[in-house]
Amino acid sequence: VSLTELALFAMFVGIAALAAVGVSLAIAGQGPLARGVSGLSLAAAAAAALLLAGQPDAALAAVLIGICALMVSAALAVAAAQAGSQD
């Protein structure tokens, strides 16, 4: 096991823990942004695992899609806030 793989594995475990926190926040109903963060961290955990497995292209794509998910959730949060202020 090389040092890079160890570092990647540590990153994977850390992000997976973050994802677990994000998912539990999202399930507890802590707003759209928490869902976006959970999506992003899950995507990042998957990307780290894909890097470990030697699939860098898929890992990069997973990170990009995760960022898109975060942006969509931010847009939804803004839309919900605007709808709330109109009420």
Binding site: A19, V23, A26, I27, P32, R35, G36, S38, G39, L40, L42, A43, A45, A46, A47, A49, L50, L52, A53, G54, Q55, A58, A61, A62, I65, G66, C68, A69, V72, S73, A75, L76, A77, A79, A80, Q82, A83, Q86
Partner: protein, 453 residues
């Protein structure tokens, strides 16, 4: 190689590029021009897939899937014509629908399991955009919840793919864990009951976003799940999958009977169809019965076509946010063709003879009885009976007498046309079953590779 030959050789990539270019152009164009771009892109991909099917290419099954996606694009776009949106919103809707088409085409055409999941994720994000643009604020919350569920399912599936790649060739514990995560994530996306709770809620507001969430993404995810199932040892998968299918059929039956809204009932019916598909796959994998693989493929196709027909008909008959008993009573008198399309979809999900969905259920039942799987046979019959009770209830409402004081029904001819076209395909495939049977055999024959009789 001429450009036409290159286009034919790379039909999958070409479809993705056409959809992406269309989405970019539509986002920058005014409403009507964006619609024209969307229709042109969908027709171009449909022509590509029809060409591949006509020439009986080895990847004809894939081409047919792309055709279905192109049809979805057209259906989604046509359905948006009925919505009273501003030109700017309309252009964004078209762009989101085409982006979803690109994601689905990519998921269906790429041989790489990780990229297939990413394609589905992209399609889901586009679907959420579609819903957010259409929604008047109230639907945004359900769209947001679905966003979280989408991330969870796709993240799990991707982790599974990575673990499988890490584990290498022999099917050890790590590979089994990865495989299980991969299949679990895909089945979550495929809308297996009771995981489909969010999809049922998202289907409520209707429109192309609902068709994406409840029909198109689940259908492609189910296809990918069937492909992943074929990769694991048969003795491990068959019995476990059979039990999962039985439990899911029970949950789906409860969902569809409890639904007070037609679109939610349709989502429950689709979940029941997913269970039939999985039961058929379990039979194929465990026993090597070719009828099981064919039944799984037919159930999947019937799910997609019946779903599009049902949801478009519901949108046309009751264009508002709810499609409950009050809004649907006596609608058949005002829109007889659309009501007939809804009837075809519902009767198909009931598993009545001479419909497309009947073939899949009949083959599953035959294979289950032949292999002595009595519980599976009972589940297929029970699920059809629950669907029959539910379908009869909604049909009686739609074809019944209208109230004395009637409101003015908005004209949603485009969604009605799409529903009628999808229903006509359901009937045509039910009567001439050779082509869909051959396609199912070609697409899901891998399910029975290596399984002994």
């Amino acid at each position: 190689m001429t450009w036409l030959e290159a286009l034919r050789a790379h039909a999958g990539d070409a479809a993705v590029l056409i959809f992406l270019a269309g989405a970019a152009l539509a986002a920058l164009s005014p409403g009507r021009i964006a619609l024209a771009i969307g229709v042109a892109a969908s027709v171009a991909v449909a022509v590509l897939s029809a060409d591949a099917v006509w020439r009986a290419e080895p990847d004809g099954a894939l081409a047919a899937l792309l055709g279905a996606i192109a049809a979805f694009g057209a259906v989604g776009l046509i359905a948006t014509l009925g919505a009273d949106a501003t030109p700017r919103r309309q252009a964004l809707q078209v762009a989101a629908a085409l982006l979803a088409g690109a994601g689905l085409s990519f998921a269906a055409s790429t041989p790489d399991a990780a990229f297939a999941v990413l394609g589905l994720w992209l399609a889901g994000l586009a679907g959420i955009g579609l819903m957010a643009v259409r929604a008047d604020g109230a639907g945004a919350d359900d769209a947001g919840r679905w966003l979280g569920f989408l991330g969870l399912s796709c993240g799990l599936a991707l982790l599974g793919v990575a673990l499988q790649a890490l584990a290498g060739a022999p099917f050890g514990r790590l590979a089994a864990l990865g495989w299980a995560l991969h299949v679990l994530g895909l089945l979550g996306l495929a809308g297996l009951a009771p995981f489909n709770g969010l999809q049922v809620r998202v289907a409520g507001p209707g429109g192309p976003g609902a068709i994406l969430a409840a029909v198109a993404i689940p259908a492609i995810a189910l296809g990918l799940a069937l492909r992943a199932l074929a990769a694991a040892p048969a003795e491990l998968v068959g019995p476990a999958l059979g039990s999962v299918a039985l439990v899911a059929a029970g949950f789906a039956a409860v969902q569809m009977v409890m639904a007070a809204d037609l679109r939610r009932a349709l989502a429950g019916l689709i979940a029941a169809q997913t269970s039939v598909c999985l039961a058929a796959a379990a039979l194929a994998i465990a026993t090597g019965a070719r009828a099981g693989a064919e039944a799984a493929g037919l159930a999947l196709m019937a799910l997609a076509l019946g779903g599009v027909a049902g949801f478009c008909a519901a949108d046309a008959l009751s264009p508002g946010r709810t499609a409950d008993a009050d809004s649907l009573r006596g609608r058949a008198a005002k829109a007889p063709l659309t009501a007939l399309a809804l009837a075809v979809a519902l009767i198909g999900f009931m598993g009545a003879p001479l419909t497309f969905a009947f073939l899949g259920r009949w083959l599953t039942l035959g294979a289950a009885l032949q292999q002595g799987w009595a519980l599976g046979a009972v589940a297929v019959i029970g699920s059809a009976l629950a669907a029959a009770v539910l379908g009869a209830r909604w049909l009686a409402l739609v074809f019944g007498r209208a109230d004395a004081v009637e409101d003015q029904m908005p004209r949603a001819w485009a969604a009605g046309l799409a529903a009628t076209a999808a229903a006509a395909l359901c009937v045509a495939f039910g009567l001439a079953a050779d082509w869909p049977l051959g396609l199912a055999d070609m697409a899901f024959g891998a399910l029975i590779q290596g399984a002994g009789p």
